[in-house]
């Protein structure tokens, strides 16, 4: 544990807070650290970045954040600036649409949008330009690059054409790619001692778990990871806590370890990294992540954040339940391991003690038939009506040896269908059994009616998705 005097020293140093915007150092000392980057930019008359919703759902405010990848190399990631309080950005670097063109010479992504008539009213266009900009340097050009950007005019077709044209261009070598190479490890936000802001309602940026726990114990503070959930509250002017402890600078929490029997996922690893680094290891994860959220959100959202907010509709939580994951936490009195089966207590309540910090999640690698399903009104970037993850092991006689049926959106917590699982155990999975299991599943929960879907529809989905799983995967 760090001593209090070193803590005090750190807090003092935090007053020297800066943010680099378009390669210019901007002083944050007098800024309200809970103000969103979007509003900060607009007050600074960088008006290209637009507010379409302020909730992280439209992408009009997309900017490029310089991030370190797993090798320590700098890269651009697209983020929603409306969800990023500037206090969380001390010491970081962002690029906005104003940085792209060189005088009257457009950046290739801008030129492609012009050439393919990719703008009509133009209000969403800077956001698309920034998403494509990040995609351009990361070699990503499919719809997932832009599925966090809403356009009401074009129907996306010309923007897709612009992306396709960019994909055919040679790997860029320009001032931006050179800049990234120059930043290299030096700019790795994981290792740089980072300044923050100690104003009331400010952000603290510990660089170790011990330090984070000490800060939490000595202040009325809330944890702040990617901010994709809490950022919405801040954007809407709601206060969260007098102090926020940003945990995204703690290197230990960024580790992603792939072992023989399991993977261990650091609690602040952005989901985009799971998508790339765990590809192929968990079929159900591979199926869920493309529909989890838009790119901008996945670049910030974390598994720890998912577990911390413990939403009944958190799409990765059924995956953890179906895999009997273990949540590793640390607190003032030491480390604990919480089995996921007993982690969720009630609506957004967990077994976590308020002063504990989720450090990592261990997920066993299973040799099992598995699938993930998400049903929503819109297939991309929507909140589940019902999400389901199924894991099944059959013996040679098609008898159920092991089964996990985990759901989101059907109860106050992410939940397994324990009764149906128990009923299935040992049974031969023939057509009649599947029919009966589906019927049981329909009765196992008492979901709510809401604007996303009726209780009847949710019950139908719970049963039907299992039938679909057996029908399509076995």
């Amino acid at each position: 544990m760090p001593r209090l005097d070193t803590l005090a020293m750190r807090v003092d140093r935090l007053t020297m807070a800066h943010l680099r915007i378009n390669e210019r150092q901007v002083d944050l000392t007098c800024a309200d650290p809970t103000e969103s980057l979007l509003r900060f930019l607009r007050r600074a008359r960088l008006l290209g970045t637009k507010e379409g919703c302020g909730d992280g759902d439209c992408g009009a405010c997309t900017v490029a954040l310089v991030e370190a990848d797993q090798t320590g190399a700098a890269r651009f990631v697209a983020v929603n600036s409306c969800l990023l309080p500037i206090g969380a950005l001390a010491g970081r670097e962002v690029f906005t649409v104003e940085a792209l063109a060189n005088g009257d010479t457009l950046h290739p992504v801008q030129q492609a949008l012009v050439d393919h008539a990719g703008s009509q009213c133009g209000y969403c266009t800077p956001g698309f330009a920034m998403s494509l900009f990040c995609g351009y340097y990361n070699g990503e050009f499919d719809d997932h690059v832009i599925d966090g950007n809403l356009c009401r005019c074009t129907g996306y077709v010309p923007i897709r054409r612009a992306a396709a044209a960019l994909a055919k261009m040679p790997r860029p070598e320009d001032r931006f790619s050179k800049g990234l190479a120059d930043r290299g490890r030096n700019s790795s936000t994981l290792e740089t001692p980072v300044a923050g802001n100690d104003a009331p309602g400010g952000f603290l940026h510990p660089t170790s778990v011990d330090e984070a726990l000490a800060l939490k114990a000595h202040s009325d503070a809330a944890w702040f990871a990617g901010g994709t959930d809490l950022g919405v509250n801040l954007s809407r002017g709601q206060r969260l806590a007098p102090t926020l402890i940003a945990i995204d600078r703690i290197a230990e929490l960024h580790t992603l370890q792939i072992a023989d029997g399991y993977v261990r996922i650091g609690s602040v690893v952005p989901l985009t990294r799971l998508e790339t680094e765990l590809a192929g290891l968990f079929p159900a994860l591979d199926e869920m992540l493309p529909w989890f959220a838009a790119r901008q959100v996945k670049n910030r959202a974390t598994l720890g954040g998912n577990l911390g907010s413990a939403s009944p509709i958190g799409d990765l939580l059924p995956w953890l339940l179906a895999h009997d994951a273990v949540v590793e936490v640390r607190g003032p009195i030491g480390a604990r391991e919480l089995p996921i089966a007993s982690y969720f207590k009630d609506y957004r309540k967990t077994a976590l003690d308020p002063n504990e910090l989720i450090v990592a999640v261990r997920v066993p690698r299973l040799d099992a038939i598995q699938a993930a399903y998400k049903v929503a009104k819109r297939q991309t970037d929507d909140i589940s009506i019902v999400a389901a993850v199924f894991v099944l092991v059959l013996d040679a006689e098609r008898r159920v040896r092991h089964v996990r049926l985990a759901f989101g959106g059907v109860a106050a917590v992410p939940i397994r269908a324990l009764d149906t699982e128990a009923w299935l155990q040992g049974r031969t999975l023939d057509e009649e059994t599947v029919g009966q299991a589906s019927a049981r599943l329909r009765e196992e929960f008492s979901p709510l009616d809401d604007h996303r879907g009726s209780a009847a529809y949710r019950r139908a989905l719970v049963g039907n998705l299992f039938a679909r799983f057996v029908g399509e995967r076995l």
Binding site: L47, G48, K50, G52, C53, G54, D57, C58, T96, V97, E98, L100, A101, L106, Q110, V114, D115, A117, S119, Q120, C121, G122, Y123, C124, T125, P126, A129, I146, D147, N149, L150, R152, T154, G155, Y156, V157, P158, I159, R160, G237, Y373, V375, A376, K377, R378, Q379, T380, D381, I385, D450, H451, R452, Y457, A460, N464, L465, A467, R468, G471, E472
Partner: protein, 753 residues
Amino acid sequence: MTHESAHGHVTGRAVYTDEQALPAKLLRLYPVQSPHAHARLLAIDTAPALAMPGIHAVLTAKDIPGENNTGPIVHDEPLLPADVVSHVGQAVAWVVGNDMAAAQAAARRVRVDYEPLPACLSIDAALAAEQFHLKPARVGCGDVDAAMAASPRRLRGEARCGGQDHFYLETHASWASIDGEGIVEITASTQHPSETQAMVAHVLGIPSNRVVCRCLRMGGGFGGKETQANAFAAIAALAAKITGHAVGIQLPRGLDMQMTGKRHPFLARYEVGFDHDGRLLALDVDMVADGGWSCDLSPPVLMRAMVHIDNAYHCPNTRVVGRIAKTHLPSNTAFRGFGGPQGMLFAEEIQDRIARHLGLAPDLVRERNAYRNGDVTHYGQQLADYELPLLWAQLKQRSDYARRRADIDAFNAASASRKRGLAITPVKFGISFNKTEYNQAGALVLIYQDGSIQLNHGGTEMGQGLHSKMLIVAARVLGVSAHRIQIMTTRTDKVPNTSATAASSGSDLNGQAIKAACETLRDRLAAVAAERLCVAPDTLAFADDRIAAGDQSLSFVEVVQAAYRARVSLAATGYYRTPTIHWDPAKGQGHPFYYFSFGAAVSEVEVCGYTGVHRLRRVDVLHDVGDSLHEAIDRGQIEGGFVQGLGWLTCEELRFSASGRLLTDAPSTYKIPTAGDVPQDFRVDLYRRAAAPTTDVIFGSKGVGEPPLMLALSAREALRDAVAAFGAAREVALDSPATPEAILRAVERVRAT
């Protein structure tokens, strides 16, 4: 040529209403909103809010010096309610503060006492209580009762469609300032600057000549800023008047969705008579639109639905009665298609019902009922230049319809849990405002001595590319390159008495007005050039920035300078009114449309029988834009319109609580399509006319703003076709929007029969 603002869009340099060099001290507004759908206002105590720091005023009904009304047709829309609130979220007062946060904080301190009253929150409730705006409207032809009685087959039915939020990316925005002479200048994101100007003048109790409204560009409009911008502009102007400071407003998304009107939900009850081959003999339709709390544009929206109930099908005996339900919900308004989509949805519903009832292919029944050139619609307009049957046949061939139909039938026979569907639907959409007097436009063109040109017209730019097309028109008439022309901000002090940029008529009306102005200037310049070249003026050609007679020519600039020296005016106005149209609203008969825009689309879908989730696999569109003024812009309208229609028909669902609160007031809960919803295989072709048109539309083009939205009805009918494949039902009811839940419900019904 690219979109005139394309560089501004991609660089972020294009400026919107709330982004100009705003006055240093610009106060901000925030509303005090009603928590009740219907309640009597007993008292408003503004004192606690006024005591807060940074607060300049709290505006209530008694602060309005002029008329407390912003209703565009009927004067039933108080800007601020004096005695009764009529929907949840309605502003009962506006707080004026140093910034929005201060105004918002103070708005929470305004104490309002209400006496809740019974609320009417749906079309059904309004029908039960007989709560309507205005009298029923009627349109029809023939002897419906006799023809119905004589029809060998008859069906009765009911269909509904949901509303739609505009979800323009730029929410409503306005700001107002008052100069030393007391002239009110209002900058607004409005599709109708002249009406915004008039409403501001009414509310302030001053003549229109003391108000200027300007609109730079909108971040999307879609009809949502045709009337709905007026109230926000008026409140900003009122606040400026009362505080003496410039005052601005840009609504946060949630407020925009809660406070503004949307596409009208509709209910239709019908009886249709037809023969054994599916040919329409009689149609009797009772239509009800949910107008919301005030009339707004509901009467013309309803009328457009009533005159599009035929879509592209001929029925010799038709009776349509339309009513506007008066509900305690936000007042529904214009939205791309303006009632047309709702009327045509019912038309397609009826075609499909007839086909499945008779066991015939829906495309065959549609063909049997198709209008031919010279047919007369149920509102008395004879069809001219009617090439839709030709277009239809071409699209069927290009889309390989017959082979794909067979492939899909084979796929469905082999698949129990997934079914595919295919459908082709037509679009015939009348172009012109139903209200005849709106079909006029003006322009003002100024040439300066250096040969540069300023172009002013009454239309507004909301992304549809109007300004780009207008540049093309002016450049073409004057024979100059587009870079010579500066398109100006739309202002009511440059071109007065303009119509809304709406009804797909922006290019038609303003283009002709610009052409007229430019022709006046061209004729004046021709006289000057002719004298210098010693030729007759009518032998001159204007092209490539030169004015030529045979092999001798003068530069445009030379001639402009010569004209100035010869004291020839270099400024001209242009004016246009659409010819031949007339309409008798009492009889529901006339020739309301100058011409029709045509198109057709083929959609192919796949539906999951476990979840009701669908995927749009392929879309083929053939659409008639005449001689396109700008192909990339027209394609953009077609693709974008289709996807917007697709959203209305599939994923966009407005849900209200039992007390009338909008539950889907953010993009987290209200889902417009994303790129992932758009088929990878999306083929759009422009139709090439077989014969020259008999109308004179600007350079042979056709209006394209709204019609493509209704091409998306093909996706809805394809979904119905896929649902039908889950059973052998002779009727396939499908709710709209066809969300996964609605589709699964439809599948279960089909499986149960």
